[in-house]
Symmetry: C2
Subunit: 218 residues, 2 copies
């Protein structure tokens, strides 16, 4: 089964449903309806059903979805049955925060190596991970069979490092540097950017302010 073509937002929703299902499973709930999943995830019930139906029929009409089975199915679809081997490049404030973030390993993403250029940082142990010099990246990524790279460097070096990671064989990259990276090879890249997100909110606030001024103007 080579899954259907499916949008990025649909995948995100599936991951969200999975999180909810795990909670419900923990609470001992056995059945859940698309309506309930929708409420808790901020989607509509039709959306939930469509998303799930892309991969098969998992529900029982009149009853809902079996929490446990559906959680297993989603884990399989999302590739979360195994745990992924991750490396971090750039042990600055964000990088260090990520190393200390317990949820990563708890949710299946094991940080197995960390790299930095700064001599003052190389050799340190940060939350149990030894920081290695960048020069060892290719070697270690191969040796440790790293599958996902996280970039948390300044924007200037990010593109180059993305290239190194791709060349060294990682299959996907999560980028925290505030630049749009172009992907080498076919290695998908996701960028997370706090400032960009805040700027999105700024637009909404500014628009709201403009509207207010208009409607309450003398």
């Amino acid at each position: 089964m080579t899954g259907p073509r499916i949008s990025e937002s649909a995948v995100r929703r599936l991951a969200l449903y999975l999180r909810l299902l795990r909670d419900l499973r923990g609470q001992g709930v056995e059945l859940v309806s698309s309506r309930e999943l929708a409420e808790r995830s901020g989607a509509t019930s039709a959306q939930v059903r469509k998303d799930l139906s892309l991969f098969g029929s998992f529900g029982k009409r009149g009853r809902g979805y079996a929490v446990d089975a559906l959680a297993d199915t989603l884990e399989s679809i999302l590739g979360l049955e195994k745990s992924w081997r991750v490396c971090l490049v750039g042990v600055g404030k964000i990088g260090a925060a990520l190393l200390g973030y317990r949820d990563l390993s708890r949710r299946g993403f094991e940080v197995v190596a960390a790299f930095d250029t700064e001599p003052g940082k190389v050799g340190l142990e940060v939350f149990g991970i030894r920081v290695r010099p960048l020069s060892e990246l290719a070697r270690i990524v191969r040796r440790e069979r790293v599958e996902i790279g996280i970039i948390a460097t300044p924007p200037e070096s990010a593109q180059e490092i993305a290239k190194c990671l791709a060349d060294a064989g990682v299959g996907a990259i999560l980028n925290f540097a505030p630049v749009e990276l172009t992907e080498s090879d076919h290695v998908p890249i996701r960028t997370m950017d706090v400032v960009l997100e805040l700027e999105g909110l700024s637009y909404l606030l500014a628009t709201a302010a403009r509207t207010d001024r208009r409607s309450t103007a003398s």
Copy 2:
């Protein structure tokens, strides 16, 4: 001028163009074409032109866009001419990393207050910001005229805090807690979730692996 209805992804792209324009301005470049902006932002040139044309005609046919003027225009559209007053709730690892993140104030988001419940943290100064008890949130948010709230607490408390922030008068919320929050009032909320993002990549990796197995199967 009450701006047009515009999608979240379009706003994100505008913010991206603005960043590129600032770079170009810094380099002394005076004109830029939609094609160049497209290349650097990962969009298509038609997309760039459509995005910009939603708000007016800023380019010169045959030449391109005046970098300086367009940057100013985008700043105005996105509400980035002023600097926004931000508060942080939850000074854990992510919260502390944010307090230390210079780019926030540099790019127009000034953290003017921080809160935490933990007695061990209250009173500390983290990167120059004093951590206050959560009980003071409403009072300080009002006094400091905070416009945007950032939530970096455990997921259990996030919804409650979103409510407090909305009630206290913030106009937008950026949420780092791994829960889908329902908005109180009409306060928009954006959630950033590292694990969710990694799970999206996991899906791609798993799909690629499935496809490989299919096509190279005996």
